[in-house]
Amino acid sequence: MFENLSEKFQGVLKGLRGHGRITEGNIEGALNEVRLALLEADVNYKVVKEFVAAVKEKALGAEVLLSLSPDQQFVKIVHAEMTRMMGAQAQELNLARRPPVPVMLVGLQGSGKTTTCGKLALHLRKGKRTPFLVPADVYRPAAVEQLKVLAGQIEVPVFDTRPGADPVAICRDAIAQADRSGYDSVLLDTAGRLHIDAQMMEELARIKAAVDPGDILLVADAMTGQDAVNVARAFHEKLGLTGVVLTKMDGDARGGAALSIRAVTGAPVMFVGVGEKLDALETFHPDRMASRILGMGDLLTFVEKAQEQVDEKQARELSRKLRRNEFTLEDFRDQLLRLRKMGSMEEILGMIPGLGGKMKELKGMAPDEAELKRVVAIIDSMTAKERRNAKLLNGSRRKRIAGGSGTTVQDVNRLMKNFQQAEEMIRRMSKGGMRGMGRNFPFPQ
């Protein structure tokens, strides 16, 4: 439904673009689109409400940035807020204590605990640690066997769980064995259970009390829906989660549950599972997750590039020059070069939100690569004086410049006309501030 979220956003963002700044009146449409997008991404209803309120407050209170148009600024605020909520930094396991350090994996049935256990063992071993695997799911048929097979594949030692044994005793015995054998970390694969199954939740509490784990990780499926908050809250209240592993991220689920779980527990997402193979485990990047949930990755890339190339200081300097009528051919050339740095013309046009079909039309208006080179060559062939004062450029000077840059006088004339148009357009824009400059400048529309 929201496959093409960016496109949906672009429609509402256009409404923002026409305005000088973000206001209560023009932001509602965009906020509602964010709300719908997040709900469709499985972020919990309540969490969405809080999030949208926070974005609104930030957007209305935000300082006006000259380098970004209001729509770009809105995208940036939404993304920044989501990244902030996801947790600032990637976090590692809490293993800095007397070994062996137990790590408990808990979660609903089918969330991916056993596979994640194997992945974490491999991850720890790559970090020069000596993990020990413990199958503590004695309920699901062949669950013990499953972990033993995985252990064999990566050649990590595994506790020989006996069928029908008590999970608390299994974990306690396994840790004693790890201690004797000198393993420094112990991964406890507990059975999947429902968060409302009081007896089974109590079993986890007893395991925790028996082994004093360094970490208790909730393993959650990226496809989880609205119920994620109920699950996370129940596990957190019973056990005090220290981290989350988000599995099955190699699919196309947006993974909004990550935000819900984080909001409810405050526990950081530490890892994401991205495949069935045991090396398919990655550390978590809050900013990437934010883009994924929002489904506006390409928009963000554009905003970032735009901001990188037109930094706030330069924008203010330019604005000052314009007010004093000091916009020169040098500035014109600098702007052109800056745009070039953002990528090829086509690439830039492709990134502009909402362009899509209009691309062809616009391509005709903007200089192509060859023309851009020509323009820069012409300006480079001028003297510093000429560049600063275009009025000096009479017929003979133009002829000289054409010769020096390997172009024709017509080329020079066309450039001068473009420059005047740009100057005019910028002057008009600068009356209402300079919003939009980062994108269209210096090409007249």
């Binding site: 439904m1 089918g110 499926d221 908050v229 109920n230 196309d252 549950a257």
Partner: protein, 311 residues
């Protein structure tokens, strides 16, 4: 044969209700007015109802649609109180899903082949175990095909269920070709005169086209051996899943031609409201719901109970 335990609807309903009551304790269900079922209907109540629908994973769009319809009914003065509103919504949902209440009927010519597909961890193997149980109880002979040759110990897992149910099993080694397993199983069933073959496949994310091609091949190979087979392609959906279930249904439909669905893990607090969207996407009926891990925890889908548990 109409399905397992059709008479124990009462017990099933109680169980769903118990799950729901627990959800309410878990703070995030803030739909008190609706839960109490008293008082007059107002805008706040309608918003709460929309919220409840969204919280069931029905999606914002569909929730707004239902709320809009009910608002119109309310304006006409047909909804005197919250109870009436709730009853009306349940009726709407139940009516929408009533057409999807088609039980799986196992009929000759035997073997009747059921291919079970779905994403990782959805509950395929467990559902097969439970199905084998009720088929055996109703006098059918059953053969399980261990065509999940990928996941560690998947074959052993299915073996345990075969033993529990008193079903045969056909298996190869881990890593073998899954369509070869299915082929052998169908052949064996033909030779032995077995009534039903249940083919367990490896969990796969619908986005992985090579894995989707693999399961498409299983369909083809089985169909070559027995014209008309598989007689049922059963898509297993996890009720805990949110909106992604729509994409799952769409893609499995495209690759395997889904003819029925099973909705598992309804014994938790997840409501499975996404099926309201899924049934707009694909035409297959919902054959079963899973309400636990025991052999008896498989029920025929009942639109009214489902709608009732939703709110």
């Amino acid at each position: 044969m109409t399905g397992p335990n059709a008479t124990s609807r009462g017990a099933f309903f109680t169980r769903l209700k118990a799950g729901l009551a627990k959800t309410r304790e878990l703070l995030f269900m803030n739909v008190e007015a609706i839960a109490r079922g008293i008082g007059p209907v107002d805008e706040k109540v309608l918003t709460d109802l929309e919220e409840a629908l969204i919280l069931s994973d029905a999606g914002a769009e569909l929730a707004a649609e239902y709320a809009e319809t009910l608002r119109a009914v309310w304006r006409r003065g047909e909804l005197p109180d919250v109870d009436a509103l709730r009853a009306r919504l349940r009726k709407m949902v139940a009516e929408t899903l009533a057409t999807r209440m088609v039980p799986l009927v196992v009929v000759p010519p035997y073997p009747f082949v059921v291919l079970v597909v779905g994403v990782n961890g959805a509950g395929k193997t467990t559902t097969i175990g439970k199905m084998a149980g009720w088929l055996r109880l109703s006098g059918h002979t059953v053969l399980l095909a261990a065509a999940d040759t990928f996941r560690a110990a998947a074959i052993e897992q299915l073996g345990v269920w075969a033993e529990r149910a008193g079903a045969d099993i056909v298996k190869h080694k881990e890593g073998a070709d899954s369509s070869a397993v299915a082929f052998d199983a169908v052949r064996a069933a033909k030779a032995r005169g077995t009534h039903v073959v249940l083919v367990d496949t490896a969990g796969r994310l619908h986005t992985k086209s090579h894995l989707m091609e693999e399961v498409r091949k299983v369909v083809r190979v089985v169909g070559k051996e027995i014209p008309g087979a598989p007689h049922e392609v059963l898509l297993v959906l996890d009720a805990t899943n949110g909106r992604n279930a729509i994409a799952q249904a769409r893609t499995f439909q495209e690759f395997t031609g889904v003819t029925g669905m099973a909705l598992t893990k309804l014994d938790g607090t997840a409501k499975g409201g996404v099926v309201l969207s899924v049934t707009r996407e694909i035409g297959a009926p919902i054959r079963f719901v899973g309400v636990g891990e025991k052999p008896e925890d498989l029920r025929p889908f009942d639109a009214e109970s489902f709608a009732e548990a939703l709110f």
